[in-house]
Subunit: 209 residues, 2 copies
């Protein structure tokens, strides 16, 4: 009825606000989000915007949550049908580099931008992001470990190092493409990722050359 409908409307307004906040943050960082600007862009009042969250900090936390959900949906979920280990990792790399090269935000991956911005700061927003990134690193490392244990990757492979390398290669696509005049960054990333996961019995830290 009326109550149900208004709850639904409120939820969709909240989502509209968060999508806009994520778009802004992808370009200028979470610090670029402002209540007044969101209100102007969305044709709302400032109190209408912040009323959904209570404070700027809560809005930033919700933006991080949305960014994490979108990342999971576009990079991890579609790779899940693949068998565990090397094959799943190869699929993750494909979806991940495609996501980074053609991001669902105007300014590139929101998580990558926020990571560099929040790395040196402290507080709840830092902690929230750190939780997601630590989880992702462990997910990747666990997948590598599975590959090693099932002889899909060389026994000398260090799961944490490979997870680190994959993360580094993807998060540099944004800066390389837009700042270092390296438009082919996404291709180079994919080449390097597949070399790391070549699985021809060589040690993964051979694959980078």
């Amino acid at each position: 009825m009326a109550g149900r409908r208004s709850v639904e409307v409120a939820r969709s307004t909240r989502e509209r606000i968060l999508r806009k906040a994520a778009d802004i943050a992808s370009v200028e960082g979470l610090g670029g989000i402002s209540i007044g600007r969101l209100a102007t862009d969305l044709d709302m009042s400032k109190s209408g915007v912040i009323g959904h969250f209570g404070s700027m900090e809560e809005l930033q936390l919700a933006t991080i949550d949305l960014g994490s959900e979108i990342f999971k949906r576009l990079v991890w979920d579609p790779a899940l049908p693949e068998p565990s280990g090397r094959q799943r990792l190869l699929a993750v790399c494909d979806y991940w580099s495609a996501y980074s090269a053609n991001p669902p935000y105007p300014g590139g991956c929101l998580i990558a931008t926020a990571s560099m911005e929040l790395a040196g700061q402290s507080g709840p927003v830092h902690e929230r992001l750190a939780g997601y990134l630590t989880l992702w690193h462990r997910t990747l490392a666990a997948e590598v470990r599975y590959g090693v244990e099932h002889a899909q990757l060389a026994a000398s492979t260090d799961p944490d190092t490979v997870a680190y390398i994959l993360q580094a290669l993807t998060s540099s696509i944004k800066t390389a493409t837009h700042l270092s005049a390296v438009p082919e960054a996404a291709d180079r990333c994919r080449t390097a990722m597949r070399a790391v996961l070549a699985g021809d019995g060589a040690d993964p830290t051979d694959g980078l050359r």
Copy 2:
């Protein structure tokens, strides 16, 4: 005399302002710099701060210049005595990873932070940073090319890909250390870098595994 002395004083004040601006930007990005905050931190008036630069944009440009100078002094200059090619690249990687793991700023490498922040934006500050990064990428790639031409690195090596990989590995030290609970990031970066430049005749994109 008095004139000379005042010029010198002004220059040293300008440098104090820029050092502080660089420290702030390394933590919060160039957007975190504010004239009022610099004035408070340095016990000056706001007009005393901005008078040295004319505008916020000029202050940010000067901060980028300082960051580039510091990077060159700590990473490139000390590697120059090494012979061109693979040996010089190995030295660059040592200085670079040490600089990234133990940066001369409270918030990590200023250039890395500003790169992610400015990648999606446009304007003079973006252009200034892009110039430095493009130059650095070309410097690295040229050094790799020299190594290939002198049989220090495998003939199949792609200089641009190797330059991309080295840049990616170092710029992720900051986020991995502070957000992904990977305190050994600097070691992993160095391991991967040396693998890329192993020079044992294998293709560099073998080195990553």
